[in-house]
Amino acid sequence: MHAKIFETEERAPESVPLSRAELLRLLAAPHRVVDVVLAGRRRLAASLALERDLAPLTALLLLTSVAAALPFGALLDGEGCWRVGLLLVGSLLVCFPSLHVFGALLGSRLCAAQSLALSLVLTCVAALFTLAFAPILWFLQATMRAGPSAVTPRQIGVLLLGAALLAGVFHLFRVLRADAALRRLAASSLVLLMLWLQLFLFVTYRMALFLGLL
């Protein structure tokens, strides 16, 4: 296992993997997810590189991806607050097999659990940004007149959703760069990841059309 090789490396305190206890504590203090996912990217990257407690980490990222997108979803589409969460996670689930299988065939050194957790970082960050953008969307809906207009709150909402997705993509690469071990692991599949991201974004676009968000 690659994890075993990297286990022996000296690690600075800020790049020690997240422990199961720390991850479970986040259930009681969900606002600290931002600190773990955005600010503590070195520790997050270390957890991914060493495959340490990936199950609770994956569960946390998945849960955040769905839950954090609810307010924005409720504002964007009153009838289905779950749609934005489904858009993020659904697109990922549709595209994940291609990332894993292509990766395996092309000699990627990331295992399925690592790839899944890594790709969930994207959806998790996108969902967190939708949560931060929710007050803005609410404000726009409250101050802009409903009805025909060259620019509608919904259009800006879709734009904000796109910005949230781009923030997710940006952070995914930041996490990849944050840990030397993870960088070495992912180096073999960087091109694949770039291509896969294009597929993911296209599928997300189609999924948004399918869900009636566009």
């Binding site: 931002v34 600190d35 955005l38 600010a39 960050v125 967190l128 940004f129 949560l131 931060a132 953008f133 929710a134 007050p135 803005i136 404000f139 726009l140 101050t143 802009m144 007149r145 009805g147 207009s149 060259a150 620019v151 800006i156 923030a167 940006f170 952070h171 930041r174």
Partner: protein, 215 residues
């Protein structure tokens, strides 16, 4: 933080009073409420986005410290505007008023105040950006990215909020409501973004508009 917010509100109210006087004491009084509302509500609505953007771009401080920085930015803007309030008030009281024939010195007053707001905003942003680079140990590129993203979010919300709260001054009638909200402007725009869009691609003016005039 409450002290920063209160000072910002008072300073913004002073500037609001000054620019409102170009129209009437009624507009001046209304602006004393509108300007603080514009600044503080923009800061509050954008707060979560500011925080996440700063975190995404590598800032290390917690939500409290970052929001204090944002509030200081709005506080500085309001303080600088308040410093310009006497000049603005003097101009408001002495300019050639719009009449039935022309707009008098009103375009000059409008242009000067746009320049005042731009100068105050840019200076406050530059000052806080320096603080951001120093306190958060961000690189220059990252720091500029944080500032640019904050500026974009502020424009997104502040632009629409200012549109909703309009008029702050101008040549409108005395019985104009407190805020025009989403009422259409003379080109038919019902929100800030549509108004910007109309600036880029102007639609035809409504029939009889030129004959009817501004009112």
């Amino acid at each position: 933080m409450p002290r920063l917010a209160v000072t910002a509100a008072i300073c913004a109210a002073l500037y609001g009073l000054a620019i409102g006087m170009v129209h009437s004491p009624l507009f001046a009084a209304r602006n004393m409420v509108k300007l603080p509302l514009l600044l503080l509500a923009t800061a509050a609505i954008c707060g979560p986005a500011y925080y996440l953007l700063a975190r995404l771009l590598g800032a290390r401080a917690g939500a409290g410290a970052l929001l204090r920085l944002v509030l200081r930015m709005f506080h500085d803007t309001a303080l600088l505007l308040a410093a310009l309030a006497p000049a603005s008030l003097f101009l408001a009281l002495t300019l050639r008023r719009p009449d039935g024939i022309g707009l008098g010195d009103y375009p000059l007053f409008l242009g000067l105040n746009v320049a005042f707001v731009a100068a105050a905003g840019t200076l406050a942003l530059a000052r806080q950006a320096r603080g951001l680079l120093r306190e958060q140990r961000l690189g220059l590129r990252r720091g500029l990215l944080v500032v640019a993203s904050w500026l974009a979010v502020t424009l997104l919300v502040g632009g629409q909020w200012a549109w909703y709260l309009r008029p702050f001054f101008g040549v409108s009638r005395q019985d104009t409501p407190f805020c025009l909200g989403s009422a259409a402007d003379y080109r038919g725009a019902t929100n800030f973004y549509e108004a910007v869009y109309h600036l880029l691609r102007p639609p035809p003016l409504p029939a009889g508009f030129l004959r009817r005039g501004w009112r």
